[in-house]
Symmetry: C2
Subunit: 448 residues, 2 copies
């Protein structure tokens, strides 16, 4: 398995023109290509040139009401990832699918198919959906409440895993002579009947290269963190600074034992938005240029939506109206983000406008403008000081922000021995150092 020394894991969070909300207005960005597959192919190949573990597509099932001011997020994940599988060879491909607005059979099957198509590079970012913009595209009912969504997610995941396990490794016989194609004793129904789902199975695809695509999750609420501790093999998290990162890291790692898991079994990847310049001054200029493209109307909408209160009536250069804000317990989604933004504004004494700018580059994720060495220093510090096992890389604008990272920061990390120089495995699980799930593992051991 190559280098045994612990190294960073890096995932590219791929989103149309980049993560700064004004990225589409940047002179070098290409918002007209937000639904052009060849644009994503080029980015994916750059990430693969940088030996990144994986790329990841977020997703939601509705059009944000801010479409006037902000670029589309991109294409549909299953179709896009499958296309990218054909245009890349090694990089992992993580797609988002909601457990609230999908059928487990379809999700199990599409990820299995993607895992087969990509030769074992599929990963599933499990979300429970947020907001009624999505909800009203599926039924005439608001988003189910937070705890209901997570109960549903737990059962959904159980069904999906059972479907992935419904074929034994040796089920395919394929004996032309005798006419036996498969051994039906090695392909079993799952006969699931739970509170939310009834799924008989088995899946109509054989066991895939990874057995189970890598499981990824990003919940930040108490329930979300418990879910991650139980199920996730990679955890994305939004942390504004290293102290927050350390708190989250030790909090989440400490929850794993309860589920019979060791700390190594969940890899924690805080979001990171690096604004890279050859000098610090150049990096700051880049950051400033993006801030100047930021639109107040969009920022107000974004913050109002998060806080559950219309901020348009409050002075932009005054503080958040703390007394008027709903409590975190009262809101139904993005609870972790809600809490973090209030804490950030309070601690740093930010006005509404300042909070808007501070969070414009990456919605509250850790953001840093600096030279490649400064960027690598920060990453090394988070890694060394127990705040991260790697990062969910969120370039502020594309393609430049990714090119700079791959060409300037990756070599710096490699020089420090913090990041791979070549891929050592072929599957996403191998990139993250995660074994195949037990059934496949057992069979691999028997073969060895």
């Amino acid at each position: 398995m190559g280098d045994k020394r612990k190294q960073l894991h890096l995932n590219l969070f791929l989103m149309s023109t980049g993560h700064h909300e004004a990225s589409w207005r940047h002179p070098n960005s290409a918002p007209e290509r937000a639904v052009d597959v060849n644009y994503y192919v080029k980015l994916a190949r750059t990430a693969e040139r940088g030996k990144l573990d994986s790329l990841f597509l977020a997703d939601s099932y509705g059009l944000p009401p801010t479409i006037k001011y902000k670029v589309l997020q991109g294409l549909e994940p299953f179709t896009l990832l499958s296309a990218l599988a054909m245009a890349t060879e090694r990089i992992g491909l993580i797609g988002t699918a909601s457990t609230t607005y999908n059928e487990p059979f379809h999700v199990a099957r599409k990820f299995a198919s993607l895992d087969l198509i990509s030769g074992g590079r599929a990963g599933w970012n499990i979300v429970t959906s947020t907001g009624n913009t999505t909800a009203f595209n599926f039924r005439d009912e608001e988003l189910p409440d937070h705890s209901d969504r997570y109960r549903r997610a737990e059962e959904f995941l159980q069904v999906v895993k059972s479907l992935w396990d419904s074929w034994e490794d040796e089920a395919l016989v394929i004996d032309k002579q005798s006419g036996i194609y498969a051994d039906p004793d090695k392909i079993k129904p799952i006969s699931h009947k739970g509170d939310y789902y009834a799924v008989r199975g088995p899946l109509n695809l054989p066991r895939t290269p990874q057995g189970h695509p890598l499981l990824v999750q990003a919940g930040a609420s108490e329930t979300g963190k418990e879910f991650a501790a139980m199920a996730a093999e990679a955890v994305f998290t939004a942390q504004n600074n290293i102290e927050g990162g350390r708190r989250f890291y030790s909090d989440l790692k400490s929850r794993l034992a309860k589920y019979g898991r060791t700390p190594e079994e969940a890899c924690i990847l805080p979001g990171f938005c690096p604004i890279i310049g050859d000098t610090e001054a150049e990096a700051r200029e880049k950051e400033q240029a993006l801030h100047e493209l930021t639109q107040i109307d969009y920022g107000l909408y974004r913050l109002s939506n998060l806080f559950g209160i219309n901020l348009a009536g409050y002075p932009l250069d005054g503080p958040l109206p703390y007394a008027d804000l709903p409590q975190t317990e009262q809101i139904n989604s993005q609870k972790g983000r809600h809490q973090m933004f209030i804490e950030m504004a309070r601690t740093e004494g930010l006005t509404i406008r300042q909070l808007m700018m501070r969070t414009a580059s990456s919605r509250g994720h850790f953001s840093l403008a600096g030279t490649p060495v400064q960027i690598a220093d920060a990453m090394e510090r988070w890694f060394a000081e127990g705040a991260a096992d790697g990062f969910n890389l969120m370039p502020p604008y594309l393609p430049d922000g990714l090119d700079d990272f791959v060409d300037k920061v990756v070599p710096e990390l490699q020089n420090r021995g913090l990041f791979r120089e070549e891929y050592t495995g072929g599957t996403l699980r191998e990139h993250y150092g995660r074994p195949l799930p037990s059934r496949a593992l057992l069979s691999a051991q028997l073969k060895a």
Copy 2:
């Protein structure tokens, strides 16, 4: 638009090792590659070399209980077609999605994404699902009855079309200077609330190259034919002989006027399984070799399933037990196929074993063993005599059956002026001579 003379339309019905139920046992077939994307890439490129209009993937959401004896159908359609879009340039890509076990928002979006990824080559084969093997993978309930499924399909299709129409062509502004990305007045909710679905919209993708992916359907019951007449732009049909083909053709074409459509607006493509030899004797030998690989257990299951009665207790070399068979009206799916098989057995006086063999190559579709000239003669006759606008090509085994067709039959059809020598359009709609749907058409006219 190139050649104005009426020509055949040809679709490749792509299914793992081919359409003969014993194809996987053929010495040249590769059943171990049934879930290998590169296998399908090669076949798709062969079809494209033959200038075929499109390729098509059937689908079902369950594992047939006959997996012991018959190869898997293949990968999941959206992921596979998206991969094939990257490996081909011109051929249309038609995927099956059920209106009974999907959400219209997801289906509209995935086809829109595929249409964007493929540059306007997506088509949707609309099915309502058959059988409880599928049903029990989604809920603890049997398949809804036939008429309920079609009522649901009608509403589902209306929702999907409205979502595809929810963005006007000119909705994207993308003005970096002013910060206006899209014109919200040109992106409208659909606010659908019907008997089965509530979908607010709009879609979260802009209008695609084709506006609407091509609509395909294959219902053979009365309700199915009405649905096709209302909605389908290409109609697949299973017809055992030219008389049946003519009846179906004039029947379906005559139903179009009721929906304000001309006969040209629905292209009728009977399934066709050509077994091609350089001599007639060679073709017959190939057919015989496949028949000898056919397994009685599988054939009995297939016919029992269709007829709704266990045939295992009846003498194989005796007639169908007509008196014991449920009537077509009593069965819930594949009504057209049911009727056709009974008629075929009665008219030709077939035993159970003979019916099994007669339908093993293509499940009752027109099948012919002959030389390339004989194959082309038959196709020309169906075309000239009002039984077909083209064919849904079902090679008995792959890759040979497709190679033979492309290398030997296509040139013969081209020599007769019956088939294109080069693609003249870039989209699936152009291949089938179907205009863009009105909103896109209007805008194209304004631009011209």
